[in-house]
Assembly symmetry: C2
Homo-oligomer: 298 residues x 2
Amino acid sequence: MDRIVECVPNFSEGRRANVVDEIVKAMTMRGVKVLDREMDANHNRSVITLAGDPGAMEEAIFRGIAAAARVIDLDAHRGEHPRIGATDVVPFVPIRGVAMEDCIALAQRLGARVGRELDIPVYLYERAAMRPERRDLASIRRGEYETLKQEIAMNPEREPDFGPKKIGKAGATVIGARPFLIAYNVNLATNDVQVAKDIAKIVREKGGGLPSVKALGFELKDRGIVQVSMNLTDFNVTGILKAFETVKVEAEQRGVPVLESEIVGLVPLEALTQLAAHALKLPALNVSQVVEMKLFGE
Amino acid sequence: MDRIVECVPNFSEGRRANVVDEIVKAMTMRGVKVLDREMDANHNRSVITLAGDPGAMEEAIFRGIAAAARVIDLDAHRGEHPRIGATDVVPFVPIRGVAMEDCIALAQRLGARVGRELDIPVYLYERAAMRPERRDLASIRRGEYETLKQEIAMNPEREPDFGPKKIGKAGATVIGARPFLIAYNVNLATNDVQVAKDIAKIVREKGGGLPSVKALGFELKDRGIVQVSMNLTDFNVTGILKAFETVKVEAEQRGVPVLESEIVGLVPLEALTQLAAHALKLPALNVSQVVEMKLFGE
């Protein structure tokens, strides 16, 4: 399998395991692998991670959205997490042999089909957004299902990109494309949380720091240390090593040593080959040079 | 596939493609993947790289040795590269989910079977060696096929670990286990080859430098630069980053900047996760955190 797309659909059901089972089952097909599945009862939401061949993924996610529309009723849904649909958000992520443009095209085709065949309003977001204000998920989800239901027919700002200008019990679905997100934390040997907060402010894009980096400073009370917690939203723009080194320099300027760092969850191989290339001054390191890719990836 | 062994058998045929085809075909089976295949006419030798499930690999390599014994006649073989057998050397390399001990046991089982069923003398080498002087391949291959033929029956030093104390047209085979070898070069921005030679002498194990590192200094004449060319024979002992940084420090002490480095051929994923862990002060980075491994490796 040399072309791989990841997708992390969020469904508005986090309590009834049999309902989530049914949705996952609908998405299970040849060419698609379910990598992870998380249910949150308080959020009343589940997050499924799938990856596979782009064509198979497109079909699988369509089936998942169709299944969720059958088994979830937004009028009866309560949970802490904001949502507008039974299938709430569907981000496609290029992993290997696939460009961002392919994922955008995939989001557009799927969105059109969901609108047409399932009669569900669809909004395109992030890199797939067709209106600049829709790049941001929060703005699409403003007021959640209940507000959208009132506004969708009359407010032109809320007109969907595909599908009807009315909303049923399945709500509306946000579909899009974005780079792989790496959750990356650096722990600092101090109990002064202000150090972590100050450094977070400096490194994050919002403060004019590293592009495609979000950062917050936290206290890890039980360990008596602090943490700069980052989301690297595009490791091709700012990679893990650059993030680490920037935090390290800032910490050392404050007389605080870096204790350790951690990658939370998954990391794409390309982020590691890129890191090795930077650390070793390699002009390039191709993922196909990795033994395991020779074995599995071709 | 969560357990992977690599094997790089060397066969004494590098001219007749149909003969090599037949041997490769004999090794082709479920659970085994042929990663690479190189024929050298001057050496009259071919090097095949395979990887897969340990059990399948054991059977596949046995079939390859049997096929080579049928189609190669050492009495008619001429080539520049030293050799003692139709199947000359068979190193097993642990890649993932397999310990060195497993590869040693595999080499021993296969060696016993080759001796018993194919009537071919077998010597165990490197980590699988049963006599300390047989760790070194060169000492086993001393005098090549022609000398061994004379000595095997009478010289107790040349008694095989398995199989008969006599040698037929298939010669003898050396089987063993060793860590993955990473070929790694660092290029320096000077045309003074003595700098590369001096640094090579310092970093290599032989000179009391980095353990499990072999190194030579070369001139890259066409580019007007020099190269420290290394073999990292066990990246768990000395990893790529350590090798790079040691060369870099030595070069800078001589006022010479590092231009770039290169990994020649394949590198196991674990060498990259280890590199990332060192560069980022990660307590650990598990290969199963790599997206591609989630997809293919389980």
